[in-house]
Protein backbone atom coordinates (compact mmCIF):
# COMPACT_ATOMS: atom_id res chain seq x y z
CA UNK A 1 0.00 0.00 0.00
CA UNK A 2 2.88 2.33 0.87
CA UNK A 3 4.50 1.62 -2.49
CA UNK A 4 1.30 2.47 -4.37
CA UNK A 5 0.99 5.71 -2.36
CA UNK A 6 4.57 6.68 -3.14
CA UNK A 7 4.06 6.05 -6.87
CA UNK A 8 0.84 8.06 -6.93
CA UNK A 9 2.53 10.95 -5.06
CA UNK A 10 5.53 10.83 -7.42
CA UNK A 11 3.46 10.78 -10.60
CA UNK A 12 1.27 13.63 -9.32
CA UNK A 13 4.34 15.67 -8.31
CA UNK A 14 5.72 15.34 -11.85
CA UNK A 15 2.29 16.13 -13.27
CA UNK A 16 2.12 19.37 -11.27
CA UNK A 17 5.65 20.45 -12.21
CA UNK A 18 4.96 19.64 -15.87
CA UNK A 19 3.08 22.97 -15.90
CA UNK A 20 6.48 24.69 -15.99
CA UNK A 21 7.02 23.20 -19.44
CA UNK A 22 3.54 24.06 -20.64
CA UNK A 23 -0.06 23.56 -19.58
CA UNK A 24 -1.14 19.99 -20.29
CA UNK A 25 -3.79 17.41 -19.45
CA UNK A 26 -1.70 15.72 -16.77
CA UNK A 27 -1.38 19.00 -14.90
CA UNK A 28 -5.11 19.75 -15.23
CA UNK A 29 -5.94 16.25 -13.95
CA UNK A 30 -3.60 16.65 -10.94
CA UNK A 31 -5.00 20.12 -10.23
CA UNK A 32 -8.62 18.90 -10.28
CA UNK A 33 -7.77 15.83 -8.24
CA UNK A 34 -6.04 17.93 -5.58
CA UNK A 35 -8.95 20.33 -5.40
CA UNK A 36 -11.45 17.48 -5.13
CA UNK A 37 -9.44 15.75 -2.42
CA UNK A 38 -9.00 18.96 -0.44
CA UNK A 39 -12.74 19.74 -0.57
CA UNK A 40 -13.67 16.14 0.28
CA UNK A 41 -11.24 16.07 3.20
CA UNK A 42 -12.52 19.40 4.52
CA UNK A 43 -16.14 18.25 4.16
CA UNK A 44 -15.50 15.04 6.13
CA UNK A 45 -13.65 16.88 8.90
CA UNK A 46 -16.33 19.56 9.00
CA UNK A 47 -19.03 16.91 9.28
CA UNK A 48 -17.14 15.16 12.11
CA UNK A 49 -16.65 18.49 13.83
CA UNK A 50 -20.36 19.30 13.76
CA UNK A 51 -21.33 15.79 14.87
CA UNK A 52 -18.80 15.56 17.72
CA UNK A 53 -19.12 19.12 18.96
CA UNK A 54 -22.84 19.80 18.61
CA UNK A 55 -25.08 16.96 17.42
CA UNK A 56 -23.78 14.23 19.75
CA UNK A 57 -23.91 16.38 22.94
CA UNK A 58 -27.42 17.49 21.91
CA UNK A 59 -28.78 14.02 21.16
CA UNK A 60 -26.87 11.91 23.67
CA UNK A 61 -26.58 14.29 26.63
CA UNK A 62 -29.58 16.50 25.99
CA UNK A 63 -27.49 19.72 25.96
CA UNK A 64 -30.10 21.86 24.21
CA UNK A 65 -27.91 24.99 23.97
CA UNK A 66 -26.24 23.33 20.98
CA UNK A 67 -29.46 23.98 19.07
CA UNK A 68 -28.45 27.64 18.76
CA UNK A 69 -25.24 27.14 16.73
CA UNK A 70 -26.88 24.31 14.76
CA UNK A 71 -29.77 26.59 13.86
CA UNK A 72 -27.32 29.35 12.94
CA UNK A 73 -25.43 26.92 10.68
CA UNK A 74 -28.67 25.78 9.05
CA UNK A 75 -29.70 29.40 8.40
CA UNK A 76 -26.54 29.92 6.34
CA UNK A 77 -28.00 27.51 3.77
CA UNK A 78 -31.03 29.75 3.23
CA UNK A 79 -28.88 31.59 0.66
CA UNK A 80 -29.81 28.73 -1.65
CA UNK A 81 -33.51 29.81 -1.46
CA UNK A 82 -33.75 33.47 -2.59
CA UNK A 83 -37.04 34.36 -0.80
CA UNK A 84 -35.46 33.38 2.53
CA UNK A 85 -31.86 34.40 1.78
CA UNK A 86 -32.07 37.36 4.15
CA UNK A 87 -32.13 34.90 7.07
CA UNK A 88 -28.52 33.91 6.32
CA UNK A 89 -27.45 37.45 7.33
CA UNK A 90 -28.26 36.71 10.97
CA UNK A 91 -25.56 34.03 11.58
CA UNK A 92 -23.23 35.80 9.14
CA UNK A 93 -23.51 39.03 11.11
CA UNK A 94 -22.91 37.12 14.34
CA UNK A 95 -19.79 35.47 12.92
CA UNK A 96 -18.46 38.79 11.61
CA UNK A 97 -19.09 40.40 14.99
CA UNK A 98 -17.25 37.64 16.87
CA UNK A 99 -14.34 37.79 14.42
CA UNK A 100 -14.11 41.59 14.65
CA UNK A 101 -14.31 41.52 18.46
CA UNK A 102 -11.62 38.85 18.79
CA UNK A 103 -9.30 40.54 16.29
CA UNK A 104 -9.69 43.94 17.94
CA UNK A 105 -8.93 42.59 21.42
CA UNK A 106 -5.91 40.72 20.11
CA UNK A 107 -4.63 43.63 18.05
CA UNK A 108 -4.81 46.08 20.95
CA UNK A 109 -3.22 43.78 23.55
CA UNK A 110 -0.50 41.95 21.74
CA UNK A 111 0.12 43.98 18.63
CA UNK A 112 -0.38 47.66 19.37
CA UNK A 113 0.52 48.02 23.06
CA UNK A 114 3.17 45.32 23.28
CA UNK A 115 4.90 46.50 20.09
CA UNK A 116 4.68 50.18 21.02
CA UNK A 117 6.04 49.48 24.52
CA UNK A 118 8.90 47.40 23.11
CA UNK A 119 9.81 50.13 20.62
CA UNK A 120 9.70 52.90 23.22
CA UNK A 121 11.86 50.88 25.61
CA UNK A 122 14.41 50.05 22.96
CA UNK A 123 17.92 51.00 24.14
CA UNK A 124 20.16 52.61 21.55
CA UNK A 125 23.04 50.33 22.53
CA UNK A 126 23.28 48.27 19.32
CA UNK A 127 23.36 49.16 15.64
CA UNK A 128 20.31 46.91 15.11
CA UNK A 129 18.29 48.97 17.58
CA UNK A 130 19.37 52.27 16.04
CA UNK A 131 18.35 51.07 12.55
CA UNK A 132 15.07 49.80 14.00
CA UNK A 133 14.20 53.13 15.59
CA UNK A 134 15.24 55.18 12.56
CA UNK A 135 13.10 52.91 10.36
CA UNK A 136 10.04 53.21 12.62
CA UNK A 137 10.27 57.01 12.71
CA UNK A 138 11.05 57.44 9.00
CA UNK A 139 8.24 55.12 7.87
CA UNK A 140 5.74 56.84 10.17
CA UNK A 141 6.82 60.20 8.75
CA UNK A 142 6.32 58.88 5.19
CA UNK A 143 2.66 58.27 6.02
CA UNK A 144 2.25 61.73 7.57
CA UNK A 145 0.50 63.67 4.81
CA UNK A 146 -0.24 66.87 6.74
CA UNK A 147 3.01 68.64 5.79
CA UNK A 148 3.88 70.00 2.35
CA UNK A 149 7.31 71.01 1.07
CA UNK A 150 6.36 74.69 1.47
CA UNK A 151 5.45 74.35 5.19
CA UNK A 152 8.10 75.49 7.72
CA UNK A 153 10.53 72.58 8.03
CA UNK A 154 8.51 70.77 5.37
CA UNK A 155 11.53 69.91 3.21
CA UNK A 156 13.25 68.16 6.13
CA UNK A 157 10.09 66.17 6.90
CA UNK A 158 9.75 65.19 3.24
CA UNK A 159 13.38 63.99 3.21
CA UNK A 160 12.80 61.84 6.29
CA UNK A 161 9.70 60.46 4.56
CA UNK A 162 11.82 59.71 1.47
CA UNK A 163 14.21 57.77 3.69
CA UNK A 164 11.21 55.87 5.06
CA UNK A 165 10.17 55.03 1.51
CA UNK A 166 13.60 53.54 0.73
CA UNK A 167 13.64 51.62 3.99
CA UNK A 168 10.23 50.16 3.16
CA UNK A 169 11.56 49.09 -0.24
CA UNK A 170 14.43 47.29 1.51
CA UNK A 171 11.87 45.55 3.77
CA UNK A 172 9.77 44.52 0.75
CA UNK A 173 12.94 43.20 -0.90
CA UNK A 174 13.70 41.15 2.19
CA UNK A 175 10.15 39.78 2.12
CA UNK A 176 10.53 38.82 -1.53
CA UNK A 177 13.84 37.11 -0.70
CA UNK A 178 12.09 35.13 2.05
CA UNK A 179 9.35 34.17 -0.40
CA UNK A 180 11.90 32.86 -2.90
CA UNK A 181 13.58 30.92 -0.08
CA UNK A 182 10.21 29.40 0.87
CA UNK A 183 9.43 28.39 -2.72
CA UNK A 184 12.87 26.81 -3.14
CA UNK A 185 12.27 24.84 0.08
CA UNK A 186 9.14 23.37 -1.49
CA UNK A 187 11.07 22.26 -4.59
CA UNK A 188 13.83 20.80 -2.41
CA UNK A 189 11.21 18.89 -0.38
CA UNK A 190 9.77 17.41 -3.58
CA UNK A 191 13.25 16.53 -4.93
CA UNK A 192 14.05 14.81 -1.61
CA UNK A 193 10.83 12.82 -1.98
CA UNK A 194 11.35 11.95 -5.66
CA UNK A 195 15.01 10.95 -5.33
CA UNK A 196 15.07 9.93 -1.67
CA UNK A 197 11.85 7.92 -1.36
CA UNK A 198 10.56 7.14 -4.86
CA UNK A 199 13.88 6.49 -6.63
CA UNK A 200 16.23 6.26 -3.64
CA UNK A 201 19.49 7.54 -5.07
CA UNK A 202 20.15 10.38 -2.60
CA UNK A 203 22.53 9.66 0.28
CA UNK A 204 20.72 8.75 3.54
Amino acid sequence: MDTIGIWIAAVLTIAVYSFLFKENKMFTFAEHLFLGLAVGHAAVLGYQNVMNMAVNPLVQKGQITWLIPLLGGALLFTRLFPPYAWLSRIPLGFMMGVAAGLSLKRAIDSEFWAQAAATVNLGLNTLDNVIYLVTVVAVLVYFFFGVSEKSPGGAAVMNVGKLGQYLMMIAFGASLGSTIMARLSLVIGRLQFLFGTWIPILPK
Binding site: Q48, N49, V98, A118, S175, L184, V187, I188, Q192, F195
Partner: protein, 273 residues
Amino acid sequence: MLNTFMNLDRRVIYVVLLVVLFIPLYKPIGLPLPITRESKATYEFIDKLPADSVVLMINSTGPSVEAELYPQTLTMARHLMSKNIKIVICSLAVEAPRYNTKLFERWAAEYKYESGRDYVILPYKAGGETAMAAIGRDIVSLYTTDDNNKPLAGMPLWSRIKSVKDFTCVIDIGGGESQRWMLGHIQAPHKVPSIAAITAVILAVTQPYFSSGQLVGMLSGLNGAAEYELQSKTPGPAAAGMDAQSLGHMWIVVLVLIGNIAYIASRSQTKKK
Protein backbone atom coordinates in the same frame (compact mmCIF):
# COMPACT_ATOMS: atom_id res chain seq x y z
CA MET B 1 24.41 37.87 -26.80
CA LEU B 2 22.28 40.60 -25.27
CA ASN B 3 19.21 39.39 -27.14
CA THR B 4 19.87 35.83 -26.00
CA PHE B 5 19.69 36.90 -22.35
CA MET B 6 16.71 39.16 -22.88
CA ASN B 7 14.76 36.39 -24.64
CA LEU B 8 15.96 33.47 -22.50
CA ASP B 9 13.31 30.74 -22.40
CA ARG B 10 11.98 30.41 -18.86
CA ARG B 11 12.19 26.61 -19.21
CA VAL B 12 15.99 26.88 -19.44
CA ILE B 13 15.96 28.75 -16.12
CA TYR B 14 13.82 26.01 -14.50
CA VAL B 15 15.97 23.15 -15.82
CA VAL B 16 19.18 24.81 -14.62
CA LEU B 17 17.53 25.49 -11.24
CA LEU B 18 16.53 21.83 -10.89
CA VAL B 19 20.07 20.70 -11.73
CA VAL B 20 21.56 23.24 -9.31
CA LEU B 21 19.24 22.01 -6.55
CA PHE B 22 19.75 18.32 -7.30
CA ILE B 23 23.58 18.22 -7.36
CA PRO B 24 24.15 19.21 -3.70
CA LEU B 25 21.37 16.85 -2.62
CA TYR B 26 23.14 14.01 -4.42
CA LYS B 27 26.63 15.04 -3.32
CA PRO B 28 26.48 17.35 -0.28
CA ILE B 29 29.04 20.17 -0.30
CA GLY B 30 28.88 21.04 3.39
CA LEU B 31 28.52 24.81 3.10
CA PRO B 32 28.68 26.53 6.51
CA LEU B 33 25.34 27.30 8.13
CA PRO B 34 25.45 30.12 10.70
CA ILE B 35 22.97 29.77 13.58
CA THR B 36 20.65 32.77 13.85
CA ARG B 37 19.83 34.24 17.27
CA GLU B 38 16.17 33.22 16.85
CA SER B 39 17.04 29.54 16.32
CA LYS B 40 19.59 29.68 19.14
CA ALA B 41 17.02 31.15 21.52
CA THR B 42 14.47 28.50 20.52
CA TYR B 43 16.88 25.62 21.07
CA GLU B 44 18.17 26.98 24.35
CA PHE B 45 14.67 27.63 25.71
CA ILE B 46 13.44 24.12 24.89
CA ASP B 47 16.67 22.58 26.13
CA LYS B 48 16.16 24.19 29.55
CA LEU B 49 12.55 23.02 29.97
CA PRO B 50 12.23 20.65 32.94
CA ALA B 51 11.69 16.95 32.22
CA ASP B 52 8.09 15.78 32.60
CA SER B 53 6.71 19.26 31.89
CA VAL B 54 3.98 19.55 29.25
CA VAL B 55 4.25 21.48 25.99
CA LEU B 56 1.33 22.43 23.75
CA MET B 57 1.97 22.31 20.00
CA ILE B 58 -0.62 24.01 17.79
CA ASN B 59 -0.20 22.74 14.27
CA SER B 60 -1.49 24.37 11.09
CA THR B 61 0.71 22.49 8.63
CA GLY B 62 -0.70 21.68 5.19
CA PRO B 63 0.79 20.22 2.00
CA SER B 64 1.66 23.68 0.65
CA VAL B 65 3.96 24.43 3.60
CA GLU B 66 4.97 20.87 4.54
CA ALA B 67 8.52 21.18 3.20
CA GLU B 68 9.24 24.06 5.59
CA LEU B 69 7.11 23.31 8.65
CA TYR B 70 7.22 19.54 8.98
CA PRO B 71 11.05 19.35 9.38
CA GLN B 72 10.72 22.02 12.12
CA THR B 73 8.01 20.03 13.88
CA LEU B 74 10.01 16.80 13.56
CA THR B 75 13.21 18.17 15.00
CA MET B 76 11.55 20.08 17.88
CA ALA B 77 9.35 17.11 18.83
CA ARG B 78 12.36 14.83 18.78
CA HIS B 79 14.23 17.20 21.08
CA LEU B 80 11.24 17.38 23.44
CA MET B 81 10.92 13.58 23.52
CA SER B 82 14.64 13.11 24.14
CA LYS B 83 14.16 15.22 27.30
CA ASN B 84 11.04 13.29 28.34
CA ILE B 85 8.84 16.36 27.93
CA LYS B 86 5.18 15.51 27.37
CA ILE B 87 3.44 16.79 24.27
CA VAL B 88 -0.16 17.80 23.63
CA ILE B 89 -0.69 18.59 19.96
CA CYS B 90 -3.77 20.02 18.25
CA SER B 91 -4.71 21.16 14.75
CA LEU B 92 -6.19 24.39 13.48
CA ALA B 93 -5.89 23.44 9.79
CA VAL B 94 -7.88 20.65 8.15
CA GLU B 95 -4.79 18.95 6.75
CA ALA B 96 -2.76 19.13 9.98
CA PRO B 97 -4.06 16.00 11.82
CA ARG B 98 -2.30 13.76 9.29
CA TYR B 99 1.05 15.37 10.17
CA ASN B 100 0.43 14.97 13.90
CA THR B 101 -0.19 11.25 13.48
CA LYS B 102 2.84 10.90 11.20
CA LEU B 103 5.00 12.71 13.76
CA PHE B 104 4.36 10.19 16.51
CA GLU B 105 4.51 7.23 14.12
CA ARG B 106 8.03 8.45 13.36
CA TRP B 107 9.37 9.00 16.90
CA ALA B 108 7.04 7.45 19.52
CA ALA B 109 8.51 3.93 19.40
CA GLU B 110 12.11 5.19 19.54
CA TYR B 111 11.46 7.25 22.68
CA LYS B 112 8.90 4.80 24.16
CA TYR B 113 6.17 7.42 24.09
CA GLU B 114 2.65 6.15 24.74
CA SER B 115 -0.55 7.87 23.69
CA GLY B 116 -2.41 9.27 26.70
CA ARG B 117 0.59 8.93 29.02
CA ASP B 118 3.33 10.84 27.16
CA TYR B 119 1.48 12.50 24.34
CA VAL B 120 -2.04 13.37 23.29
CA ILE B 121 -3.17 14.17 19.76
CA LEU B 122 -6.23 16.41 19.89
CA PRO B 123 -8.67 16.55 16.97
CA TYR B 124 -8.96 19.35 14.41
CA LYS B 125 -11.06 22.33 15.43
CA ALA B 126 -12.56 24.65 12.86
CA GLY B 127 -12.77 28.40 13.30
CA GLY B 128 -9.18 29.60 13.08
CA GLU B 129 -8.87 32.51 15.48
CA THR B 130 -12.10 31.55 17.27
CA ALA B 131 -10.64 28.10 17.98
CA MET B 132 -7.39 29.66 19.24
CA ALA B 133 -9.39 31.96 21.51
CA ALA B 134 -11.29 28.94 22.84
CA ILE B 135 -8.01 27.14 23.57
CA GLY B 136 -6.86 30.16 25.55
CA ARG B 137 -10.15 30.52 27.40
CA ASP B 138 -10.87 26.90 28.36
CA ILE B 139 -8.97 24.13 26.60
CA VAL B 140 -10.43 21.43 28.87
CA SER B 141 -14.02 22.18 27.85
CA LEU B 142 -13.07 22.54 24.19
CA TYR B 143 -11.67 19.04 23.85
CA THR B 144 -13.39 15.96 25.26
CA THR B 145 -11.90 13.28 23.01
CA ASP B 146 -8.57 12.71 21.31
CA ASP B 147 -8.01 12.35 17.56
CA ASN B 148 -9.12 8.70 17.69
CA ASN B 149 -12.34 9.63 19.49
CA LYS B 150 -11.10 8.20 22.80
CA PRO B 151 -12.35 10.15 25.85
CA LEU B 152 -9.66 12.44 27.27
CA ALA B 153 -11.03 12.03 30.78
CA GLY B 154 -8.92 9.37 32.46
CA MET B 155 -5.84 9.92 30.33
CA PRO B 156 -2.93 10.52 32.76
CA LEU B 157 -1.43 13.33 30.72
CA TRP B 158 -4.72 15.14 30.14
CA SER B 159 -5.62 14.94 33.85
CA ARG B 160 -2.66 17.29 34.50
CA ILE B 161 -4.19 20.00 32.32
CA LYS B 162 -6.69 22.37 33.90
CA SER B 163 -6.04 25.38 31.68
CA VAL B 164 -3.58 26.60 29.10
CA LYS B 165 -1.44 27.96 31.95
CA ASP B 166 -0.45 24.35 32.80
CA PHE B 167 1.73 24.20 29.69
CA THR B 168 5.34 25.27 30.20
CA CYS B 169 5.46 26.42 26.62
CA VAL B 170 3.21 26.81 23.57
CA ILE B 171 4.64 26.21 20.10
CA ASP B 172 2.60 27.42 17.15
CA ILE B 173 3.48 25.85 13.80
CA GLY B 174 1.94 27.66 10.85
CA GLY B 175 2.46 29.79 7.79
CA GLY B 176 -0.46 32.15 8.18
CA GLU B 177 -1.79 34.26 11.00
CA SER B 178 -1.87 31.64 13.75
CA GLN B 179 1.22 33.08 15.52
CA ARG B 180 -0.59 36.36 16.03
CA TRP B 181 -3.67 34.52 17.31
CA MET B 182 -1.46 32.62 19.76
CA LEU B 183 0.15 35.83 21.00
CA GLY B 184 -3.21 37.53 21.40
CA HIS B 185 -5.19 34.74 23.02
CA ILE B 186 -2.57 32.69 24.91
CA GLN B 187 0.69 34.56 25.38
CA ALA B 188 -0.66 38.02 26.24
CA PRO B 189 -3.48 37.06 28.65
CA HIS B 190 -1.87 33.99 30.26
CA LYS B 191 1.85 34.82 29.96
CA VAL B 192 2.68 31.34 28.67
CA PRO B 193 6.12 31.37 26.95
CA SER B 194 5.49 31.09 23.23
CA ILE B 195 7.50 29.93 20.23
CA ALA B 196 6.59 30.40 16.57
CA ALA B 197 7.62 27.93 13.88
CA ILE B 198 6.87 29.75 10.65
CA THR B 199 7.38 29.72 6.90
CA ALA B 200 10.06 32.01 5.50
CA VAL B 201 7.40 34.10 3.72
CA ILE B 202 6.07 35.53 6.98
CA LEU B 203 9.47 36.05 8.62
CA ALA B 204 9.34 39.84 8.15
CA VAL B 205 5.94 40.19 9.86
CA THR B 206 6.76 37.78 12.72
CA GLN B 207 10.25 39.06 13.51
CA PRO B 208 9.05 42.09 15.55
CA TYR B 209 7.31 39.76 18.03
CA PHE B 210 10.62 38.02 18.72
CA SER B 211 12.47 41.32 18.98
CA SER B 212 9.91 42.64 21.46
CA GLY B 213 10.25 39.55 23.66
CA GLN B 214 6.67 38.36 23.08
CA LEU B 215 8.10 35.24 21.45
CA VAL B 216 10.84 33.42 23.36
CA GLY B 217 11.87 31.61 20.18
CA MET B 218 11.26 31.51 16.46
CA LEU B 219 12.18 29.08 13.68
CA SER B 220 11.79 30.28 10.13
CA GLY B 221 11.60 28.08 7.05
CA LEU B 222 13.79 25.18 6.09
CA ASN B 223 16.89 26.95 7.37
CA GLY B 224 15.28 27.34 10.81
CA ALA B 225 14.73 23.59 10.91
CA ALA B 226 18.28 22.93 9.70
CA GLU B 227 19.75 25.22 12.37
CA TYR B 228 17.74 23.42 15.05
CA GLU B 229 18.86 20.03 13.74
CA LEU B 230 22.49 21.14 13.90
CA GLN B 231 22.15 22.49 17.43
CA SER B 232 20.50 19.30 18.66
CA LYS B 233 23.18 17.28 16.81
CA THR B 234 20.58 15.30 14.90
CA PRO B 235 21.09 16.25 11.25
CA GLY B 236 17.97 15.44 9.24
CA PRO B 237 16.21 16.35 5.99
CA ALA B 238 16.42 20.09 6.62
CA ALA B 239 20.20 20.18 7.10
CA ALA B 240 20.55 17.95 4.02
CA GLY B 241 18.59 20.48 1.97
CA MET B 242 20.53 23.60 2.96
CA ASP B 243 23.35 23.20 0.42
CA ALA B 244 20.71 23.02 -2.30
CA GLN B 245 18.97 26.06 -0.81
CA SER B 246 22.19 28.11 -0.86
CA LEU B 247 23.11 27.11 -4.43
CA GLY B 248 19.55 27.82 -5.56
CA HIS B 249 19.84 31.32 -4.13
CA MET B 250 23.16 31.84 -5.90
CA TRP B 251 21.55 30.87 -9.23
CA ILE B 252 18.75 33.37 -8.62
CA VAL B 253 21.26 36.11 -7.72
CA VAL B 254 23.12 35.35 -10.97
CA LEU B 255 19.84 35.62 -12.90
CA VAL B 256 18.98 38.95 -11.24
CA LEU B 257 22.43 40.33 -12.11
CA ILE B 258 22.28 39.09 -15.70
CA GLY B 259 18.76 40.41 -16.10
CA ASN B 260 19.69 43.85 -14.81
CA ILE B 261 22.91 44.10 -16.83
CA ALA B 262 21.06 43.05 -19.99
CA TYR B 263 18.28 45.55 -19.25
CA ILE B 264 20.68 48.46 -18.64
CA ALA B 265 22.70 47.58 -21.74
CA SER B 266 19.59 47.34 -23.92
CA ARG B 267 18.37 50.69 -22.60
CA SER B 268 21.67 52.42 -23.43
CA GLN B 269 21.60 50.85 -26.91
CA THR B 270 18.09 52.21 -27.47
CA LYS B 271 19.25 55.71 -26.38
CA LYS B 272 22.18 55.58 -28.85
CA LYS B 273 19.77 54.77 -31.68
